[in-house]
């Protein structure tokens, strides 16, 4: 059944305002099953609002979102763990919300924690005793233990250092390829977007609108570091990107010179 009509998420003419402030204007995009679409743009450009509208955390006032994915989960910029619950209970939070019995949800949580490099000892710790990277892993495990068809990511790597970022991204790439996970990914980091997505939507600010769409055809698990650097450098010379991120002329001219040599 799922094979016959693959699930998708589609936004039609989606606009949103907070009071007099227009945040998003006429957004259109489509996310197909098994694909990763990232929304890239400067901070404060309405990216999070867009994500919340798609996830149903905010009420849609104009336009509409069609979502035929059966299940979804969320990972935030900060881990948002419950400080009074152990790592294990935090991972099992979404399962508990679904009404799954204690024993079963603990089994599932233990099983997934291994994939995220969390060991027996870590699971009984409270979030205060875990490092920042560990906490973000717990947050990812909490989302992925639900085996969602669609994952919403709201800049989940931005607070991590380079090493942790890479580790967690590798884990995520594994999950994408093994489980055919679909992801709507919000980020302000172009390189992250190039590494993880099939399609990059460029969201300009004031009001938030999609000004360009980039597609990357190379499969996600086949992208080398060099490929990611090159693609990112190429994107940085695109006039739309320069305009949207308000890159200084100095930087652009340097990049142009590099390209020519």
């Amino acid at each position: 059944m799922a094979r016959l009509n693959a699930a998708y998420l589609q936004a039609h003419q989606l606009s949103h305002s907070f009071g007099p402030n227009e945040i998003l204007r006429e957004i259109d995009f489509r996310l197909d099953q098994g694909k990763v679409v990232s929304v890239v743009g400067p901070s404060g450009g309405g990216k999070t609002t867009l994500l919340h509208l798609c996830a149903g955390l905010l009420d849609i006032t104009e336009g509409n979102v069609e979502n035929s994915f059966k299940s979804f989960a969320f990972a935030f910029q900060d881990p948002r763990l419950l400080p009074w619950q152990t790592a294990l209970d935090n991972i099992a939070f979404g399962l508990k919300a679904k009404g799954i019995a204690k024993q079963q949800r603990e089994q599932l949580a233990v099983a997934i924690s291994a994939e995220f490099g969390l060991e027996g000892d870590d699971l009984t710790k409270f979030p205060k005793d875990l490092s920042g990277g560990m906490r973000q892993r717990v947050s990812f495990a909490r989302a992925l233990v639900l085996q969602p068809e669609l994952l919403f990511l709201d800049e989940p790597f931005s607070a991590l250092d380079i090493g942790l970022k890479q580790e967690l991204q590798q884990i995520l790439i594994q999950q994408i390829t093994q489980k055919k996970l679909s992801i709507l990914f919000i980020t302000h980091d172009l390189m992250e977007a190039v590494r993880l997505s099939d399609q990059i939507l460029l969201l300009a600010a004031d009001p938030g609108r999609i000004v360009h769409t980039f597609t990357i055809d190379t499969p996600i698990d086949k992208r080398s570091e060099q490929f990611v650097y090159d693609e990112t450098a190429k994107l940085l010379t695109q006039p739309k990107i320069i305009e949207t991120f308000e890159l200084t002329m100095n930087l652009t001219s340097t990049l142009n010179r590099d390209k020519q040599t």
Partner: protein, 260 residues
């Protein structure tokens, strides 16, 4: 339930950890003895004599009953203020206007010296239980109220949003998010209020009743019975220490181990 068993299980180890505290108390008693040797019986009776006096008071002078009266009053006052303070504080915390309006009132309540309340209460209620309990309540209520108010005001939107993203049912939001958070503010406030109740009850009794430890303290002052006064103080402090360290602290350790 699980928490209850954990408390019982870790209780022996907790008691064992009390040796340090006991050593420090003995050091204090040694200093007391030293003071006694310098100043003599009238100013500072010997610790031994005070202990004997304490035992004698409890066994033969009917002080056991007086102590029960005092503790009963303190506990009543504490329970009423804990109940009222928690309920009203939670309610006020839910509404921005209510929490804004209650702030100055609580500041007034906190700022008003308990001794002034005792005078007013004596005029309003005469001499007896009501006056004492009333004073205890007005003195401890603001502490609990502020704790509960802050507990509800500081609920993080982030966690609520996280719970929404997992389509968490309302009941689970209460048990897993709201309750643990609010409790972490209310419980320490209860402990502070309990300590406050113990102090205020004696003061109120000293001025406004003819029974209880406070009244007995007034009698020892009249008779210049320093050993008696010290023995009464020991009863009070001792009973508070027992309640706080044998009951409240083990609970606190269990429910707050997630804290930094």
């Amino acid at each position: 339930m699980n928490a209850f068993f954990n408390i019982i299980k870790s209780f022996p180890r907790y008691l064992w950890s009390g040796w340090g505290a006991i050593a420090s108390i003995f050091l204090f008693i040694a200093l007391w003895e030293f003071g006694h040797q310098i100043y003599g019986d009238l100013i500072l009776p010997a610790p031994k004599e005070t202990f004997l006096r304490l035992v004698n008071m409890l066994l033969h002078e009917g002080m056991w009953q007086e102590m029960q009266i005092t503790i009963r009053r303190a506990l009543w006052g504490f329970f009423i203020s804990a109940l009222l303070g928690s309920a009203l504080g939670l309610l006020a915390g839910l509404f921005a206007t209510a929490s804004m309006m209650s702030r100055p009132i609580v500041t007034i309540l906190m700022g008003m010296p308990p001794i002034a309340w005792i005078v007013l209460a004596m005029i309003w209620f005469g001499m007896g239980d009501t006056t004492v309990i009333f004073t205890v309540v007005v003195a401890s209520f603001p502490i609990v109220f502020i704790g509960a108010l802050q507990g509800t005001r500081t609920l993080e939107n982030n966690l609520k949003e996280m719970a929404d993203s997992f389509q968490t049912p309302a009941l689970m939001k209460i048990t897993d998010i709201y309750f643990p958070h609010v409790f972490s503010y209310v419980f320490p406030a209860w402990i502070a209020a309990l300590g406050m109740s113990w102090k205020i009850v004696v003061m109120a009794e000293l001025l406004s009743t003819s029974d209880g430890l406070g009244a007995a303290l007034a009698v020892t002052r009249g008779q210049l019975d320093t050993a008696g006064a010290l023995a009464l103080v020991m009863m009070l402090v001792g009973s508070l220490l027992l309640i706080e360290y044998l009951l409240m602290e083990p609970i606190k350790r269990e429910v707050e181990q997630w804290r930094d």
